[in-house]
């Protein structure tokens, strides 16, 4: 049951990254792929009806973590205190910029929100990627089950690393490139005209960068946490996940070459999902690794709640999850086809 919940939480988080990832990506590229007001409204129109639902995966995933492994949530959220709040502030400013931008027909007003949207969209994946980096590298958890970390120290690893060090920043940049590339495919799929052309032009460059950073990040992870890859041979799920992300990567490049951008977008989703699932399979059952002593690791087994709670949660999870997936399918169908900028006074 603990193992099942470990995977439910991992799946929710991975879906969150895939879903919010493409609207982060749209935000990262916003200023580059869309130059005129009309074009920017196209980008916003593409993600406008979806971004809020995408973010719900974070809340639902966080809720799943909370109910199954409250000790991990408590240690992680309080340990990464300042980074968490930077994430929250960026999420807030980003949401407001999407929602408020088109309410007022004024150039300065809209430039302000375009800037806020782009900056928060860049910072978020870097911070969230760095969070993943911290999970892979480990944190100074002690016998109390808690840890506290400054935002940064000297950017080196060691006994007292900061939340940001060279390794976690590298993972953050990898995440930034990945969601930007993911977003480029989404925009190439959903838009036409100049926005489509620019996104199409950027996609191969960005995916080249992703491939490069992926190798760099994997090499660095093996250096920082050699144990991670030792799990690989005995984790069949890791092999499945690896297959998924490799196939995803193949679809991405095929999709770009044949200008089949839906195929590419599905491929990039599979790439992210597979990569995160493979990471989860490698660290299982550890959820928060201690850099001080493996005995202080928080694992799916020592941090979970009782079986009754897990079982009750599973019942409603099994009802709720298909409904949530149903909404996503419904929304994509409702907004199918290429996006056009809405009339002034309406839409995003």
């Amino acid at each position: 049951m603990e193992m099942l919940w470990f995977w439910l939480v991992s799946v929710m988080v991975a879906i969150y990254v895939v879903m919010d990832g493409f609207d982060f990506g749209a935000g990262i590229l916003h200023l580059v792929v869309a130059k005129t007001n009309e074009e920017r409204r196209e980008v916003l129109g593409a993600i406008g009806p979806l971004w809020d639902g995408n973010e719900v995966w974070l809340l639902a995933g966080g809720g799943s973590l909370f109910l199954a492994f409250p000790k991990v949530l408590a240690a992680g959220f309080s340990g990464f205190y300042l980074a968490m709040w930077l994430v929250v502030w960026c999420l807030m400013l980003r949401g407001i910029s999407i929602e408020f931008r088109s309410h007022v027909e004024d150039g300065l007003w809209r430039h302000f929100w375009d800037g806020t949207f782009a900056v928060s969209s860049v910072l978020l994946p870097v911070l969230l990627g760095a969070a993943l980096g911290n999970v892979l590298r480990g944190v100074p958890l002690d016998g109390s089950g808690y840890f506290g970390m400054p935002l940064w120290t000297d950017f080196r690893l060691g006994a007292h690393p900061g939340i940001l060090d060279w390794y976690t920043v590298l993972i953050g940049l990898f995440a930034l490139a990945t969601v930007a590339a993911h977003g480029a495919l989404f925009l190439a799929w959903k838009t036409e005209g100049p926005v489509h052309d620019r996104a199409k032009g950027l996609a191969p460059v960005l995916w080249g960068l992703v491939a490069l950073l992926w190798m760099l990040a994997s090499y660095a992870t093996a250096m920082v946490n050699p144990g991670v890859f030792h799990n690989l041979p005995k984790a069949p799920l890791a092999w499945v996940a690896t297959l998924v992300f490799l196939v995803g990567l193949g679809l991405v490049f095929t999709g770009i070459r044949r200008e089949r951008f839906l195929m590419g977008f599905v491929g990039s989703g599979a790439f992210i999902l597979g990569l995160l699932a493979a990471s989860a399979a490698c660290v299982y059952p550890v959820m928060l690794k201690s850099t001080l002593d493996p005995a202080f690791d928080l694992t799916a087994l020592n941090a979970s709640v009782g079986v009754y709670g897990l079982r009750s949660g599973l019942v409603w999870w099994l009802i709720g999850f298909p409904i949530a997936v149903g909404y996503v399918v419904f929304l994509f169908r409702f907004h199918r086809g290429k996006v056009k900028a809405a009339a002034e006074g309406e839409g995003y």
Binding site: P49, F66, F77, V88, F334
Partner: protein, 442 residues
Amino acid sequence: MGDPLFWHRLQFGFTATYHYLFPQLTMGLAFLIVVLKALGLKTGEARYNDAARFWIRIFGINFAVGVVTGIPLEFQFGTNWAKFSHISGGIIGQTLGMEGMFAFFLESSFLGMLIWGEKKLSPKGHFGAALALWLGSWLSGYFIIATNAFMQHPVGYAMAPDGTLQLTSFWAFLLNPWALGQYAHNMIAAVVTGSFVVAAIGAFWTLKGIHAEQARLNLRVGTIAGLIFSVLVAFPTGDLQGKLVAKHQPITLAAMEGRFESGPRAGLTLIGQPNVAKRKIENPIQVPAVLSFIAYGTFSSNVKGLLEFPEDQWPQNIELLYYSFHIMAGLGTLMIALMGLAVLLLWKGRLDGNRPVLWALMLAFPFPYIATTAGWAVAEFGRQPWLIYGVFRTAQGGSPTVHAGHTAFTTLGFAGIFVVLSILFLYLIGREIAHGPASHKA
């Protein structure tokens, strides 16, 4: 001030209070929009849809601010209240997770359709979107209330040897009697907020002499709903809430009334200032025996005073608790009176021409906001010194590795963000009101 707990509490209280200014309107409006859309469908008259369209714009702006100010609340459980989250996450994580799964997905999926989809959808489809938002926002409200109810009156759990609380009955927890009572009281209060805002806009346009048809419609809907729900918020739901407090939190009841001595035929204090050091109410104006009746249903019941309980179980902030309760109850009474008068005039066909009452309706829209905020202050100050009533103290709940320098920083950050948000919000709402309903005709 160097105590991190002070900052944790200030930050949560501040961010939760600010956040709830927005959902209380969206939950209330969601209901009224469904009513307007239903009337539009039934009668086929355009004016109902015109009114709904205006309120959907207001709803959209409020909803956006509600979403972004709600995110920090979810995070604070883990960041600031790690010890509390650790011991109770297995229980309250259930409702918080369900809120995401069953309410937020529903709301976020249909929000765009409600706000921008009127042309693309059929009238029935658009009504469906309104219904989805109503259902979603009211479900969300239930899961939050159920979470809070566990903190007010914990049920369905057992304490494990390691001190964590484990769920033992999902249904007992989800259908906590406290949650049912508090939910009814709270949701009806949200409709009161919505009604007062609708009535205020109607009064404003009537006084200005603009948008005559919409002004009349809003006045009618706002005052009729306002009267019905202002009454319901006091009786039976407020009354029920009072009895729950009397039964499960008698110390809180005593502190709310500033009552130190025990005794039968307890009076209800209308006005007076609690002097906690001297253990008495100064300058009291009381109605004899009414408190006994409200709390226990008979005039002769004994209502215990604070002195009957150990002082380490008293709420720490008795003054604020006392005033919050009296402000809530006082404004609630005033709101019933105002809406009663307005509906009487409406019935006689004289509301449109009665400028003093129109002025009062226009200026009264902050009352339900204040009363609701005060009501939550009663619930939360009244819960002290416990984080989970009778089980786990607030002083035990903070994050062990987060210091005052962290939380002071983030609290100040929120103060800054909220100032900016407030300015933007008021600017956008002001524009919508200035545009009025006509300019958005499809």
